[in-house]
Amino acid sequence: MRFSGLRVITEGLTGNRGWTPHWRDATPKDAYDVVIIGGGGHGLATAYYLARNHGITNVAVLEKGYLGGGNVGRNTTIVRANYFLPGNSEFYSHSLKLWEGLEQDLNYNVMHSQRGQIALFHNDAQRDAAIRRGNAIRNQGDDAELLTPGDLRRVLPYLDYEQTRFPIYGGLLQRRAGTARHDAVAWGFARGASDRGVDLIQNCEVTGIDIDAGNVRGVQTTRGAIRAGKVAIVVAGRSSQVAAMAGMRLPIESHVLQAFVTEGLKPCIDHVVSFGMGHFYISQSDKGGLVFGGDLDFHASYAARGNLPMAEHVMEAGMTLMPMIGKAKLLRSWGGIMDMTPDGSPIIDRTDVDGLYFNGGWCYGGFKAVPGSGYSMAHLVATGRHHEPAARFRLDRFLTGRGLMDEEGTGAQHNLH
């Protein structure tokens, strides 16, 4: 079934009786060429690009819950490519280019909205850093513009510019950044993979990884054993548990990150606004809710909910930046489990087991990475070679110290990112 404007009109006039399920809910076969553990955004994108780019369609995606029920449905939906360091910058640049063609490629409306993201700064040193970052972004081939307070007042009239604590000196704008409908991204990749023959298997928890003489042979699941030539672990949020099934210990600590949404309001916030000093970032969904997030709760946690101290801190940051949101009523809050790596950058790599590949450590930047991550992971699984834009996401960078990507410059150790 292809989506088109004509189809929407036709269905609308005929009682919407022609719509069919977007993907097949498959039952597991005995064996596959590739088994992907994890039916979130990254796992589904990996399956899609394996089929689309490499013609590998004898693939199963195993999901212990339901498709897209993890972090891909628990984020603040921001898509951007404004990284500073080599390694990250070309990867997110590639991912943003994939986003820009994603809806046509998938024939699926992921509501990708390039409304622009503005990162604010509050003193001269931060302005220098923003200029430097902007130049790095432009050298990468992406867009960045420096906005003066005058520019900002025209587009963001609702900020508190003259406050004493964090007076607003300007902002770095990336016009091609924006948001997307997070669930639709998972559904679109699921549909695209399923249409090409990939089996999407829900309620199928992996309980073991079969390894023989250093080669991966398959997986044990709650729906029986499945043989596989190659296995890809794509389960950010639960990486340590699944990797432990293969005898691996990872440079990852899991943390909870909270997000919030208000009741639906009339359009008032047209961009993604990032307030780094309060670690507060906000956008308005198409439904009208103000969607915003904060920093980690800063202790290891697998509770997909947060604690009140960080909730209070996020509200304070929001009120500091834009006092008008004090009148909005909070509708929901939730938490997602972040794979935090020591340097704050992700991992896409082989493992010491032949045929076993690992994708994880997305910290709090996984959503915008979904297309790029799937594209590069599929390349690695299909060819055995790293895909150039993701070639620096190595697992051994912590041991050797080569290629660490510490965007915040705080040092490559846990609890600093």
Partner: protein, 98 residues
């Protein structure tokens, strides 16, 4: 989440700074080699369940505390002064964690 400081009693989580896994009490010898240091600094068991980590009572008595807690339920199961944990381990002649 509330944490019981062995010195000050039960206090709000906001009084404490989180350091991370209590592996920090097992610092390797300077010449232990790259693998031991990589393991110490970067690699984590990262359990979904009971864990032991180090907290600093920053706005209280400034004690370092070993907290045993559940990472899924956020339940705090046990708290001890890190100095006591280290001393007890030294008397046993063993590693702090084992």
């Amino acid at each position: 989440m509330r944490i019981t400081c062995p010195v000050c009693g039960e206090r709000d989580r906001r009084e404490f700074h989180y350091k991370g896994d209590a592996v920090a009490l097992n610092r390797p010898d300077p010449d232990a080699g790259d693998a031991a240091w990589d393991d110490y600094i970067h690699t984590r068991d990262n359990p979904a369940g009971e864990t032991r980590d180090l907290w600093y009572h920053e706005t209280g008595c400034a004690a370092w505390i070993v907290v045993t807690r559940n990472t899924v339920s956020h339940e705090v199961l046990d708290t001890r002064l890190a100095s006591d944990v280290v001393r007890a381990a030294g008397e046993r002649g063993g590693e702090v964690r084992k």
